[in-house]
């Protein structure tokens, strides 16, 4: 099967400071990849670079999606191809309701008007799955939402927009046990019913418990230091990243 995402020798800088140094990553349709690494290793940078955040500069290397080079492509075009990034800190947008935002995004992606009735029906189902009150659809996007509600709203968008590849940037951080369970149920639904591919950036394992992990990648200091199957997650949990750290990076 051909790769859905192919990152080749990617070097990325932020404000002229090199963060990623020659990253390679291949993800096939429906696969779940876990990206782990110590703080500041470059995990979020990789997520943002794949999504096309203009704050991150690709110095060299390529990003291919479904075989096409998207390295220079605008954010919205990548999103319409089927790439989704769940934000670590979702922004508050006063005056735009969560429902209207999702519907507008769906219409922009499909280029077609979506009937309100159909939209509401689908939205209700997704809200129920995430144990969210229907009134959230009428609330301004992320305004006054708690940390957990913001993360759930990100997964709600994922379920409604149905991308081919979702990058979850620490979606489980700062959540209590129940919220993590709800969020992972949403992610599981995405994985199973939409054959969605996932890149999960995480420090914890609770979000992974109900998911079938295909590959695990370890980033340290902007480089892929290791790769393995799901068992690598458990090893990291027991041993930490110590073995990947050079004496300099330990400091």
């Amino acid at each position: 099967m051909a790769d859905l995402l192919n990152v080749k020798d990617l070097c990325v800088s932020v404000e002229e400071k090199g963060i990623l140094h020659g990253i390679n990553l291949s993800v096939k349709r429906g696969e779940t990849h876990v990206l782990m690494g110590p703080n500041g290793a470059g995990k979020s940078t990789l997520g943002n670079a794949i999504m096309g955040n203009p704050r991150y500069t690709v110095e060299s290397g390529k990003i291919l999606f479904e075989g096409e080079d998207i390295t220079e492509e605008a954010v919205d075009k990548r999103a319409r191809r089927g790439i989704y990034l769940s934000f670590q800190n979702p922004l508050e947008v006063p005056g735009v309701t969560l429902g209207n935002f999702i519907r507008s995004a769906m219409e922009q992606r499909s280029g077609k008007r979506i009937r309100l009735w159909d939209f509401k029906k689908e939205m209700k189902k997704a809200l129920e799955l995430l144990h969210m009150d229907p009134s959230y659809a009428e609330r301004d996007l992320n305004v006054g939402f708690s940390g957990g509600e913001k993360k759930k709203a990100e997964i709600l968008q994922l379920l409604m927009l149905k991308p081919a590849l979702a990058i979850l940037d620490e979606t489980d951080s700062g959540l209590d046990v129940d919220a993590v369970r709800t969020v992972s149920e949403g992610v599981e639904e995405y994985q199973k019913s939409m054959d969605g591919a996932l890149i999960i950036i995480t420090h914890a394992t609770r979000i992974l418990e109900s998911l079938k992990v295909d590959r695990t990648h370890i980033i340290v200091n902007g480089r892929m230091e290791d790769e393995g199957d799901a068992s690598l997650v458990d090893r990291i949990n027991q041993e930490g990243f110590e073995r990947y750290m050079t004496p300099v990076s330990k400091v």
Partner: protein
């Protein structure tokens, strides 16, 4: 307009450099103005009468003295609405003025809210394509009374309009003023509130959408006179095409206004490089124990916000359109009365349909 003169309005209480041309505005005034025909609804619990200009003169408006003189000389009667002490009026007093093609109208309103009363006024200004209209509203809000004034402006593309508001608040009184300005070729708005009574409050929220060649000139003044008085001014707008906007916002913390707090915040979303946006925030202070804050956010959309919304598949232009709508919707959503809120939303939808 066959014959007209200009009068000076919207004077900045503390002038800045003259060459900037922002100290005042010139308001064209046609020679003959007739009283517009308002449609009034829900006047129960109020006493309505016709008076002369005497009471109006005692309360200063944001547009200034020359306008007062013009209004008084026009001979147009003042319509006074008076709410008795302790009465809380459930339904809003509804004043609707629809101006016909070529009409040249002026209306004068006096609102008197006695001690402990509560009143919401909804003013709806609409028109055919071209014409001229002015409105002056003066409010006396006595001790512990609360008045909310909501106005919606949806005028024709060649229409010139002004609304001058002046209010005086007694002890513990509240004046909440909300303006939703959707269209009109040339608009002048003056709002002045004298917070005379101790612990009285003034809140103003203005939302505007200006397009094509539309021009908007605003002079907003909060005079803190009494102790522990509070004001909050929020102006939120969108400029596109060749629109022009000048906003003057003055918080005057006068001697004796101990413990007073004034806040003003302005945000403007600029949709094109061809718009003209001018802002003069002023905080005057003649008392030590006071607080005055000003903030402004003017320009294009924040890069992080744009990235977030585009990452859902929305084109840059669509994000801007959505955010422009959101700004005015946020002001509309602040209308506490649900019925009025829905009514204003229906106007918005109609404006959108007509634009298509």
């Amino acid at each position: 307009m066959s014959e007209e003169r200009n009068i000076t309005v919207n004077k900045l209480p503390s002038p800045t450099f003259r060459w900037l041309g922002m100290n005042s505005a010139l308001l064209p005034v046609p020679e003959k103005l007739k009283e517009g025909k308002p449609v009034l609804k829900d006047t129960e619990e109020l006493s309505a009468s016709e008076t002369d200009y005497t009471l109006m003169r005692n309360i200063a408006g944001g547009m200034g003295e020359e306008l007062d003189r013009m209004a008084e000389e026009s001979g147009i009667p003042v319509r006074e609405f008076h709410i008795g002490a302790g009465i809380s009026k459930k339904d809003a007093l509804y004043i609707s003025l629809h101006y016909g093609e070529g009409e040249q109208a002026l209306n004068l309103f006096s609102i008197r809210a006695e001690e402990g009363s509560e009143l919401t006024i909804f003013m709806d200004f609409s028109s055919e394509k071209a014409g001229y209209a002015g409105v002056q509203t003066k409010l006396s809000i006595e001790k512990g009374a609360r008045v909310r004034l909501i106005q919606v402006q949806r005028l024709g593309e060649d229409f010139c309009f002004f609304h001058d508001i002046g209010a005086k608040t007694g002890e513990g009184a509240e004046f909440d003023e909300r303006e939703i300005l959707l269209s009109g070729r040339q608009s002048f708005h003056g709002i002045r509130t004298d917070l005379s009574g101790r612990e009285s409050r003034f809140e103003s929220a203005i939302g505007y959408l200006l397009k094509k060649e539309e021009r908007l000139d605003i002079n907003l003044i909060a005079n803190h006179i009494g102790e522990k008085t509070e004001s909050r001014i929020d102006s939120d707008g969108v400029l596109r095409d060749h629109a022009f906007k000048l906003f003057r916002g003055t918080i005057d913390l006068r001697k004796g206004a101990k413990g007073a707090v004034g806040n003003e915040m302005e945000t403007v979303l600029l949709m094109n490089d061809t718009v003209v946006n001018q802002t003069v925030p002023v905080i005057l202070c003649d008392e030590e124990d006071v607080e005055g804050n000003h903030g402004a956010s003017i320009g294009r959309l924040d890069e992080d916000m744009l990235f977030y919304m585009q990452s859902r598949g929305m084109e840059k232009e669509a994000v801007y359109e959505m955010m422009a709508d959101a700004k005015i919707d946020a002001v509309i959503n602040g209308i506490s009365d649900e019925k009025l809120r829905e009514q204003v939303k229906s106007y918005r939808r109609r404006e959108d349909e007509e634009a298509v």
